[in-house]
């Protein structure tokens, strides 16, 4: 019995010691991890809203949830350049998350796929960058398009799907269109003309 | 897949090898003269060997008893020629071993023992006396299995026989000895059968013949009618191994002999037609088994025929009377090509279980180009015992005998159907025999 108590004591001490060490490490690493997360999001937001100032992209909440972001040209949040939102759609083998940026008229100006675990070599081609090019060819198609144009060719739309990966292509396309329509509803309609942004 | 709709009476599995019976089926039985010398093994049956009661130098007459039965499951052997005992020593036996044998040099007289004579009072014999006579006449199943007949005719009281089957199926290719016997000695066969029925008193008696011998069916039906025998003569569709006891019972009665059991467990008893005739001889004529009908055939024999030969005549002697061997003779078998045993010498004697001497030519012999099993399942379809021969083969090959036992290796009747159809030429029967041996060795060691 004494033995058991001794062992429990040793084990307890070791565990508490370990937890303490980890607490310390966590204390140091946590800000860094959050910083990394923030950076990643910022980078994505910037590729969605290329003309916005990195310091002037503000989230818009609905309850606890961020429903979209507003991007401004100036650090003092003036000169609205557009909105960004996260679109989610069920792909072939994963949920595909895309961050999409639109200008004030509802025209897509940038996008970045945040998460996808599609079939390597097929579905993942939605992120494929062709040899000698800079951006993914599939995503490039969306730039300049509006909600009504967004459907894959097989469904009668203008987006050329990735060969052999219609489901992934369709998931991205449809989720973006749905997100756009939702955004439009929230905003009560896009404006007819684009804001002039002074560079 | 078997089309079962039309098969009236049958058993599962089986094969249809070419029959090749036309070589001898129309040739009447030819009686061969007694040879100058016979070699009579003291054991020609399943059970304990007999003990010799003669000595070298003794003179014997045809029908003289040479041995004392070695026990209840044992029968004596008798002199098949008259002459002098030259030697009592191990000699090659057609089953492939050396067996103590009594060698008799003939005197050319062919003198018969005075005891061999018709018994006018045979009808008064009790069942016990009949069995005794059958045993002392040296009767052992003439179909090939050579199990002592008197034992078979003594079922224990708790297992009454309600169906008696006379086996004239003769499903082995080439063999026609039983066929000719039925055609030429139908009355004697029926008489022998009547004697056995008298002992057993079954409800039902059947004479089973494959339908490639319709003439025999007719003759036997007639003979049975004349004898006033209350029995059916049934023509069965040709299929190997129809003549195997368990398969025959299944085909005729639909009953399955349980695993490890005997026909009497389902109230049946099967006797070969040759045995029936020998029963008649033993009981009515008091004549022991000194000769038998043998089919000498195959493409390696010059003049295939059915012959009545004395027990103990050498294969060489018999073959000489059939015109000798042809060029290209490749295998000499005792029995048919499916279950027969290949002989390495022609000096072996004809024994009580020798239904045929088949000499195959090179072209007929199964080539054994062993290939890998492609799991085609033909052996499974062919096995009349419902086994998976290929599975057992692989288990035996890898010495996994416990599993082989689970897969039923002991149930194998060694009919050869599996190996006959195997496209890979695997020695399936060989593996079965080896597996059975090992498994029973282990079982004995365990008990």
């Amino acid at each position: 019995m004494k033995d058991v108590l001794r062992m429990a004591w040793i084990l307890g001490v070791v565990t508490v010691l370990a937890a303490a060490v980890l607490g310390a490490v966590n204390h140091v690493a946590k800000p860094r991890i959050e910083e990394q997360r923030r950076l990643a999001l910022e980078q994505a937001l910037l590729s969605a809203l290329p003309k916005a100032d990195p310091r002037a992209i503000v989230p818009v909440y609905e309850g606890d949830e961020i429903v979209y972001y507003k991007g401004y040209a100036q650090p003092d949040t003036t000169g609205l350049v557009g909105y960004a939102f996260v679109a989610r759609g069920a792909g072939y083998s994963s949920e595909i998350e895309t961050l999409v940026g639109v200008d004030t008229t509802g025209q897509i100006i940038g996008l970045k796929i945040l998460r996808e675990v599609e079939t390597p070599g097929l579905g993942t081609k939605i992120e494929e960058v062709r040899y000698g090019e800079k951006d993914p060819w599939f995503q490039r198609q969306f730039i300049g398009k509006r909600a009504r144009q967004l459907a894959v060719d097989k469904d009668g739309g203008e987006i050329v799907s990735v060969t052999g990966a219609t489901i992934s292509s369709r998931a991205v396309t449809n989720s973006i269109r749905k997100g756009l329509e939702e955004l439009e509803k929230r905003l009560g309609g896009f404006s007819k003309t684009a804001q002039q942004v002074s560079d | 897949m078997e089309l079962r709709l039309f098969a009236r009476r049958s058993f599962r599995g089986g094969v249809h090898p070419p029959e090749n019976k036309s070589l001898t089926e129309h040739k009447p039985i030819e009686i061969l003269p007694p040879p100058a010398m016979v070699v009579i093994p003291v054991q020609q049956h399943i059970g304990a060997p007999g003990k010799p009661i003669v000595q070298v130098g003794d003179t014997v007459r045809v029908g003289d008893r040479l041995t004392e039965p070695g026990g209840y499951v044992s029968v004596p052997v008798h002199a098949s020629i008259s002459g002098t005992v030259k030697a009592i020593e191990p000699r090659p036996h057609p089953l492939g071993t050396s067996v103590l044998s009594i060698v008799i040099e003939g005197d050319g007289q062919d003198q018969w023992s005075p005891e061999v004579q018709e018994d006018p009072n045979w009808q008064q014999l009790t069942a016990e006396e009949i069995r005794d006579r059958i045993q002392m006449a040296g009767l052992a199943g003439m179909g090939g299995a050579a199990f002592p007949t008197h034992v078979k005719l003594s079922p224990p009281p708790n297992k009454p026989i309600d169906t008696f089957i006379l086996n004239g199926a003769e499903c082995e290719p080439y063999l026609t000895a039983d066929h000719r016997l039925m055609l030429e000695y139908s009355e004697e066969i029926v008489r022998g059968m009547a004697i056995m029925l008298r002992i057993l008193r079954p409800k039902r008696a059947i004479i089973a013949i494959e339908d490639n011998k319709m003439d025999a069916v007719r003759v036997m039906r007639e003979a049975a009618g004349k004898e006033g025998l209350n029995c059916e003569v049934v023509a069965l569709p040709v299929k190997y191994p129809q003549g195997a006891e368990k398969q025959l019972i299944k085909a005729l009665t639909g009953r399955e002999v349980p695993r490890g059991g005997l026909p009497m467990d389902v109230g049946c008893l099967v006797q070969n037609v040759g045995t029936a005739r020998a029963v008649y001889h033993a009981v009515q004529k008091r004549r022991p088994v000194v000769d038998r009908v043998v089919t000498v055939t195959g493409r390696g024999v010059a003049e295939p025929k059915n012959v009545l030969v004395r027990i103990g005549s050498s294969f060489a002697y018999v073959l000489e009377h059939c015109g000798g061997l042809r060029d290209g003779a490749a295998r000499v078998l005792m029995g048919g090509p499916m279950m027969g045993i290949a002989q390495f010498t022609l000096d072996v004697p004809v024994v009580k279980g020798t239904s045929g001497i088949v000499v195959l030519s090179q072209e007929e012999v199964r080539e054994r180009r062993e290939a890998a099993c492609i799991r085609c399942g033909r052996c499974v379809d062919a096995c009349p015992m419902g086994l998976m021969p290929t599975a057992i083969y692989h288990l035996v090959k890898h010495k996994r005998f416990d599993e082989a036992q689970e897969y039923g290796v002991l149930d194998c009747i060694e009919c050869g159907s599996c190996a006959y159809v195997c496209p890979a030429g695997l020695p399936l029967v060989h593996a079965m025999k080896f597996g059975k041996l090992e498994v029973s060795k282990r079982m004995r060691a365990a008990s």
Binding site: I10, A18, V21, V25, N26, R32 | -
Partner: protein
């Protein structure tokens, strides 16, 4: 055994992956690219060396009966440190390796070395053993990833290697490719070993 051997045995003769078939899950899971493989190898080596050292240090004070739970706690601590540090400083790699970073805890190589070696040997030898095993593991991972990335993606460490004309054999970066590659590699090694012996 010489000190040098203590280190080199892990590389080939007692390679934890190829020779002992240990630590298979991360080996197969993250060997679809060399980048992941290197990251995983480093993380493993870090945990192996440090846990070996600590286990060797405390081996005299630990009651036999509870040594395994204590080893596990020690290992889990280092694994969590790696996890946190990687999340903070190499987020992409952290994302790519996924749950296989925390799963280093149950990697049989580490517990196996702690139990079989560090618990019985000096600190220095344990350190060398940890390094050797860690490098051996990394080497195995690297070899697998090298083959799989080149064939399956036409690239090496993310750089196009076989040119645009090469059509990558996708199956190599899918799960079946991992199984087939390691199976063939192990067979090849058995064959080479046997040839060398005879």
């Amino acid at each position: 055994m010489s000190v040098g051997k203590e280190f080199t045995k892990g590389l080939y003769a007692e390679n934890p992956v190829f020779k002992q078939a240990l630590g298979l899950c991360p080996t197969l899971a993250v060997s679809n690219s060399v980048r992941n493989a290197v990251g995983m190898g480093l993380a493993m080596t870090f945990v192996l060396v440090l846990s070996n050292i600590i286990v060797s240090l405390i081996r005299r004070f630990v009651p036999r009966k509870i040594r395994i739970p204590i080893y596990i706690v020690v290992i889990a601590t280092f694994v969590t440190i790696v996890d946190l540090v990687m999340a903070g400083f190499a987020p992409d790699l952290h994302k790519a390796l996924g749950i296989f970073v925390p799963l280093i805890v149950v990697n049989c190589i580490i517990l196996g070395r702690a139990e079989a070696f560090a618990g019985r040997n000096s600190v220095f030898r344990s350190l060398l053993d940890g390094l050797g095993m860690g490098f051996g593991f990394s080497l195995a991972l690297f070899v697998l990833a090298f083959i799989r990335e080149i064939l399956g993606d036409g690239r090496l460490y993310g750089f196009p290697l076989l040119g645009p004309g090469f059509e990558p054999m996708l199956i190599m970066i899918l799960p079946p490719g991992a199984f087939l590659t390691i199976g063939l590699l192990m067979g090849l090694m058995n064959w080479l070993d046997k040839r060398r012996c005879s």
